[in-house]
């Protein structure tokens, strides 16, 4: 019967026993909000005071964040990872191992190390901020009225799953929460279910990630077979890895490779990237949270979790190919997504491709770090150790930076869209009751309908600016620190293994492309003159939206502080403590020196090349094509003035006609997303759907047809048999005689 045993709680930290609450609170909030919403729908108190559940979700998320922070506090110091603080036996069975029956248990527990803590912070922090944002965004749009409880319910369920995935103590539970995230993503993308495009996008997102998940599941199964368990405890154990390595390192590589495909699907990398742009059909908070800041990081998290395999001495040199593939996929996606982002006019789509591209950077970084860990004797050699840790750390740091920046960017873009929409509504529909939003073709997300908003929405523009700068890797801001690390490490590896030249080149070129499309986005939206009447009437945004934007601007700008504190050294679950031994100021100086005055001349050059491409060439080109001065009389905040002016200057001086490029077949291909979606759809329609249709017919005609023809055959046989009963007594007598004769001859023969 109930065979659960709640025993085995190891309390290494006071907080960890509350860790399950981080997951449970939002999970319990899910049905509560859903049912309350169902019951009290349209109730004024529910609608206005509780914001249709938004204010139920908020304290829950805050509680999760607080517990997370307390948990993080316990683990900020040098490594104090807690493995398996809790053990619930979930499945309890046994397998036949060719001679003995071996017991098998699949259990659930909490596992905390630095990677966990880092992502836990990202997730719970952004969940809370975006929750705040949602209240400002969702509840002020009449289209969402009386539906928001659904949004908040799915939102908290998602948060629960995300946090669960981070905290889980085994690949199995990682996968379980991973799938639930997938469900939430599906539901939230399809939030506006009436729109066929949303329905299509939701399905596409789920299906595409599902394909990756299938591989992930197979990878898990393979790994289970190797280790007899999926618990991090067991699979990360060096002895176990050595044992597996001795038997079948190739299989392990395959297993990890399969799992990586899962990560590719979730993090929207080539070739399973097609779902992410479409996923922008969901409400903007969803895009911000799921499709930029948290869920898409799950794939990265999964790959990061594979680090112990790469880093184990017994696997040394065995997993190089996989590391290369990870880096390569990253490199390809980085360039491809950036290229497609060039031609997007939809604000959110640009960000989506940017997300794809940046995640690809992280993959490349991880791949390189994995390569280094796998080839260098880093556990014994201090120098190598430093290199590996920093390479890994850089990737994780970029994850952190990107999550913050992209979350902010999406929220900011959401706020832009929101206000543009309102302005449009105000202008065109002031005479009717405002329910009909779909009547005209006005696209509030298109950058063609914006321009010059810097003066109208200063905070949003600032957030956008900071975020873009972080993503572009402008020196000193946010992502710069991590991106430089990734590029440098890619080249470091490329020196060692020429194959890595491809991803290394990719990330370098990608940096420039990032600079171009991010600048283009900002400039088209905020600089220049309003492109139409609507954009001219956009007003500032509301407080709920401002809070998270404000917060995140600071977090992004303070990346240098994190870097200085030694984030990159701490994050990869090393023995480094969070506050590096050098102290903050010294750390910052060290980082500065490391970045701008690298003693190694090769990396020195690479750094400046990257800066030149990413911070000067890319933005420069964008400035020459887009933006310009604000409209007459419009003022903006002082910190944005230089940017606008610079833009105006470049725009005036270097503007050139790019129509030949804009009309080239390459551009068209990019606009069509390189036809990848098209071919996928065709494959689905022409091959899978057609084949299944044919199969369904075959099932009816052949398999069931056999049965039916047996039936028909026996019916006609019946007619035949009955036709022998002619009705004439003479024939009956004849038959008797025949029978008699037959018996006669038979017995005659016998006798």
């Amino acid at each position: 019967m109930a065979g659960s045993s709640g025993s085995g709680v190891i309390l290494d930290s006071g907080m960890v026993q509350y860790a399950p609450l981080i997951i449970l609170l939002p999970m319990l909030a899910f049905p509560v909000i859903l049912f309350l919403g169902k019951v009290f729908n349209k109730n004024p108190f529910w609608k206005n005071t509780l914001k249709e559940g938004g204010l139920i979700a908020l304290p829950v998320m805050a509680a999760s964040l607080i517990i997370s922070l307390l948990l993080i506090k316990d683990h900020l110091g040098s490594f104090a990872g807690i493995k398996d603080s809790l053990n619930i036996l979930w499945v309890n069975t046994s397998v036949w191992d060719g001679g003995v029956l071996e017991p098998v248990t699949l259990g659930f527990g909490i596992y905390v190390d630095h990677v966990t803590v880092m992502l836990l912070f990202v997730a719970s922090f952004l969940c809370l901020l975006i929750n705040i944002f949602s209240v400002g965004y969702m509840n002020t749009d009449p289209i969402n009225d009386n539906k928001n409880h659904r949004f908040y319910a799915e939102f908290v369920l998602f948060c629960s799953a995300m946090l669960g995935m981070v905290l889980a103590d085994s690949f199995l539970w990682l996968f379980i929460f991973w799938e639930i995230m997938g469900l939430c993503s599906y539901l939230l993308i399809g939030f506006y279910y009436e729109k066929p495009s949303a329905a299509y996008a939701a399905k596409k997102a789920f299906l595409t990630t599902r394909i990756g998940d299938v591989f992930l599941m197979i990878g898990l199964v393979m790994m289970w077979d190797l280790f007899g368990s999926l618990d991090y405890d067991v699979v990360f154990n060096s002895d176990n890895i050595a044992e597996v390595a001795a038997q079948s390192s190739g299989t392990l590589q395959w297993a990890l490779g399969m799992m990586f495909i899962g990560a590719v699907g979730k993090s929207a990398q080539f070739p399973l990237h097609v779902w992410l742009p479409d996923a922008m059909e969901g409400p903007t908070p969803v895009s911000a949270l799921i499709h930029a800041a948290t869920m898409v990081n799950a794939g990265l998290y999964l790959v990061a979790r594979m680090f112990p395999f790469f880093g184990d001495a017994s696997m040394s040199g065995e997993l190089v190919d996989l590391a290369f593939i990870i880096a390569l996929i990253g490199g390809i996606t980085a360039v491809m997504a950036a290229a497609i982002a060039f031609v997007q006019n939809d604000l959110k789509k640009v960000l989506a491709y940017s997300t794809m591209s940046q995640l690809a950077y992280i993959f490349t970084g991880l791949g390189c770090a994995m390569y280094l860990a796998n080839t260098l004797d880093w556990q014994n050699d201090d120098g190598a150790h430093y290199i590996v840790i920093v390479a890994f750390g850089a990737a994780l740091f970029h994850l952190f930076n990107h999550a913050m920046a992209k979350g902010m960017l999406f929220m900011a873009s959401g706020s832009v869209i929101h206000e543009v929409h309102h302005a449009h509504h105000h202008l065109h529909h002031h005479d009717d009751n405002g329910d009909d939003h779909h009547e005209d073709d006005f696209d509030a997300q298109s950058m063609d309908n914006m321009g010059g908003l810097a003066s109208k929405m200063p905070l949003t523009a600032t957030a956008m600016l900071v975020g873009s700068a972080s993503i572009m890797g402008l020196p000193f801001i946010g992502g710069f620190w991590s991106k430089e690390g990734i590029i440098a490490n890619a080249w470091r590896v490329a020196q060692d293994d020429p194959r890595f030249l491809i991803p290394a080149m990719c990330v370098l070129i990608g940096a420039g492309m990032t600079g171009f499309y991010m600048s283009r986005m900002w400039l088209k939206t905020f600089a220049g003159k309003p492109s139409n009447e609507v954009a001219a009437h956009v007003g500032p945004t509301n407080t709920w939206i401002k809070i998270p934007l404000f917060t995140l601007i600071f977090v992004t700008l303070s990346a240098i502080i994190f870097a200085g504190m030694g984030f990159t050294h701490w994050a990869p679950d090393s023995e480094y403590s969070f506050m590096s031994e050098r102290g903050l100021a010294e750390g910052i100086v060290y980082e500065m020196k490391h970045a701008f005055a690298n003693s190694d001349s090769f990396f020195f050059v690479i750094t400046y090349v990257a800066i030149a491409i990413g911070a000067i060439l890319g933005p420069g080109l964008a400035m020459s094509l887009y933006g310009g001065n604000l409209a007459e009389g419009e003022q903006t905040k002082p910190w944005m003035k230089p940017v606008i002016r610079l833009n105006a200057w470049v725009y005036a001086r270097f503007n050139f006609n790019n129509s030949s490029i804009a009309e080239s077949s390459l551009t068209r291909a990019l606009e069509q997303r390189l036809y990848i979606d098209y071919y996928y759809d065709m494959a689905m329609l022409k091959i899978v759907a057609a084949f299944s249709k044919k199969s369904a017919e075959a099932d009816t005609l052949v398999i069931d047809g056999t049965i039916k023809s047996i039936e028909r055959g026996s019916q006609s046989l019946s007619t035949l048999v009955r036709s022998l009963t002619t009705g004439s007594a003479r024939d009956y007598i004849l038959m008797i005689s025949v029978g008699t004769l037959a018996i006669f001859f038979f017995l005659w023969g016998v006798a």
Binding site: S718, G727, Y732, V738, G739, T740, F744, L747, A751
Partner: protein, 575 residues
């Protein structure tokens, strides 16, 4: 071998021994006399003095009651039935009626008594059901109920019923093949006339003619076979024949003789290809009569087959298997498949039941084949009697329960027939709404015929299959338990008969279910939506059949024991 009591005709103990048959005889006389009682007076020749002698003239009120003959018949056959049951009270005393020379003519034992139970049971129910069944409307003549009731043929009908019972019981009792043949002919002649009883209709006469003429040819062949046997053995006593067969059974003469006799009985059990007249006869005859043909008459044929095949041409008397084994096996497969296939497409429920009865004949032949196959392999010498008893008990049980649901089904049809339907599938439409009791009963009968548990039909079919399988496997179990490796090739081929049987049962479900579907889920035909004709008697008979079907399915233990006793008493070498 238990004690055998011998009784000479009209000697001591004769009356008690042959009690049921004598009751029948008495009933026969009564049936002839009583309806004729009236105010008739006899004029003494030469004078004008009329002495009332009560025969003829104006009938009394009581004796002119059209239901009187049926009551007499029902009471007579019913009493015989009860007497037969009573004889089981303390085990049937094994009694032989012998001639002065000491040759056994009739043998009373559990076997014959059980068969008499079958005959009497079927005939009682049929007579009872006919009580309000003869007022047929619409078949040919436009006779009103009153006219029909006053028809003298009421008496004739039940007289034929009783003679039929008498003939059948003689078949069951006979120890001499010729006596058996005479009984058979007595019963056959009665059934010929019963089939043709509705001479007002085309189909009635036609059915009678066909049944008669084909039956006569078959019995002609059979009689010729008997004469050949007689020529060969010098006697038609079963025991004499058996002894002689054991010595020189492999000669052509007895073989062909047995083969010809087989034809005669084959017609009675309606085995293919001797069954052709049966569907015509069933559909032309009134339903209760068809029911009798399908149950009692078939059982009678089976008795004959058992006697000739298992006593005379006994497998134990031949060296390596029985010569007729393959022949009968083939016959059984052809019969069951033919019957089922033909029934599959039949749209006349009576013909369908007739074909299903052909199929059932096939199952029974398979069972007999199995008995013949028991000592097929000398290396595996089991206890042959044990297997034979199982099969035979199964066969008897099958015949017994067949009375319940086959006759029951025909009786349900007979109710419809009273309003002129019953010969088309569609006339069953809406029965569930018109009279749910009949529909439910028919449903039970149908799925019992199909062999769906836990009804009698399932148990009986299961038993037959079990018997066949047991024979087929011999005592493989012993060999297997010692670790020898045996495969399907070590199983006797009669096992495939069992397979054919189960597959055939599966086919048969199709047409049985069709009737159910029509009854429950199709609308009544035009002009058939009203209530069905009255008549509690036929419904009572159906109820009895229904109860028996259910009872013998769920609580078959007691009856099974009776069948086992009967099977053991069939051949005392087996017991």
């Amino acid at each position: 071998m238990s004690d055998l009591k011998t009784v000479e005709p009209f000697g001591e103990g004769f009356i008690s021994a042959l009690c049921p048959e004598l009751i029948l005889f008495a009933g026969l006389i009564l049936l002839i006399v009583i309806p004729n009682l009236g105010s008739g007076k006899f004029r003494i020749p030469g004078t004008q003095t009329r002495v009332p002698w009560l025969l003829g003239g104006n009938r009394f009120k009581l004796t002119s009651d059209p239901r009187l003959p049926s009551w007499i018949a029902v009471l007579t056959i019913g009493t015989s039935f009860v007497m037969t049951i009573l004889s089981f009270q303390d085990g049937v005393e094994r009694t032989a009626i012998v001639s002065e020379g000491g040759t056994q003519i009739l043998m009373i034992n559990a076997f014959s008594r059980v068969f008499e139970l079958i005959f009497f049971g079927a005939l009682t129910l049929a007579s009872f059901a006919c009580m309000n069944r003869l007022d047929v409307k619409g078949i040919g003549a436009k006779l009103s109920t009153e006219e029909l009731y006053n028809n003298r043929r009421q008496g004739d009908f039940y007289i034929l019923m009783i003679t039929c019972a008498l003939g059948m019981s003689i078949v069951a009792l006979a120890q001499d093949l010729f006596v058996l043949f005479i009984g058979l002919e007595l019963a056959s002649f009665s059934t010929y006339v019963l089939v043709a009883f509705f001479k007002e209709s085309k189909s009635g006469t036609e059915a009678g003619m066909k049944y008669f003429i084909v039956g006569s040819v078959a019995s002609g062949v059979g009689l010729y076979g008997l004469s050949m046997l007689y020529l060969w053995a010098g006697s038609l006593q079963l025991d004499v024949l058996a002894t002689t067969f054991a010595q020189s059974g492999n000669e052509a003469l007895p073989m062909i003789g047995i083969g010809f006799v087989l034809v005669g009985f084959g017609f009675k059990v309606s085995a293919a290809p001797f069954h052709f007249a049966a569907p015509d006869a069933y559909s032309g005859a009134s339903s209760p009569v068809a029911g009798v043909l399908a149950t009692a008459s078939k059982a009678m044929g089976i008795v004959g087959l058992l006697r000739i095949l298992l006593i005379v041409a006994a497998p134990e008397s031949s060296e390596d298997g029985t010569v007729w084994l393959v022949c009968l096996g083939l016959l059984s497969i052809i019969t069951m498949t033919w019957g089922n296939l033909a029934a599959l497409g039949s749209t006349n429920p009576k013909r369908m039941l007739a074909y299903s009865s052909v199929a059932h004949a096939g199952y029974m032949l398979a069972a007999i084949t199995a008995i013949g196959a028991w000592n097929w392999d000398e290396t595996l010498s089991g206890d042959p009697g044990e297997a034979a008893v199982v099969v035979l008990a199964a066969l008897i049980f099958h015949l017994m329960v067949l009375v319940a649901f086959k006759l029951g089904a025909f009786l349900v049809l007979s109710v419809l027939e009273s309003e002129g339907g019953g010969s088309k599938l569609s006339s069953l439409g809406g029965l569930a709404k018109r009279e749910p009791f009949l529909a439910v009963a028919m449903f039970i009968f149908m799925i019992s015929l199909a062999g769906v548990p836990p009804l009698a039909g399932f148990v009986s079919k299961l038993l037959v299959i079990m018997g066949i399988v047991k024979v087929a496997l011999g005592d493989m179990s012993e060999a297997l338990s010692t670790g020898s490796e045996l495969g399907l090739s070590d199983v006797h081929w009669v096992w495939w008969l069992a397979l054919a049987m189960v597959i055939n049962s599966a086919i048969s479900v199709y047409y049985y279910l069709r009737i159910v579907v029509v009854m429950f889920f199709e609308e009544a035909e035009e002009g058939r939506s009203g209530p069905l004709p009255n008549g509690w008697q036929v419904r009572f008979a159906i109820l009895v059949c229904l109860i028996a079907t259910l009872f013998m399915g769920v609580a078959s233990e007691k009856i099974l024991q009776i069948c086992e006793t009967a099977a053991q008493s069939f051949n005392y070498n087996w017991a």
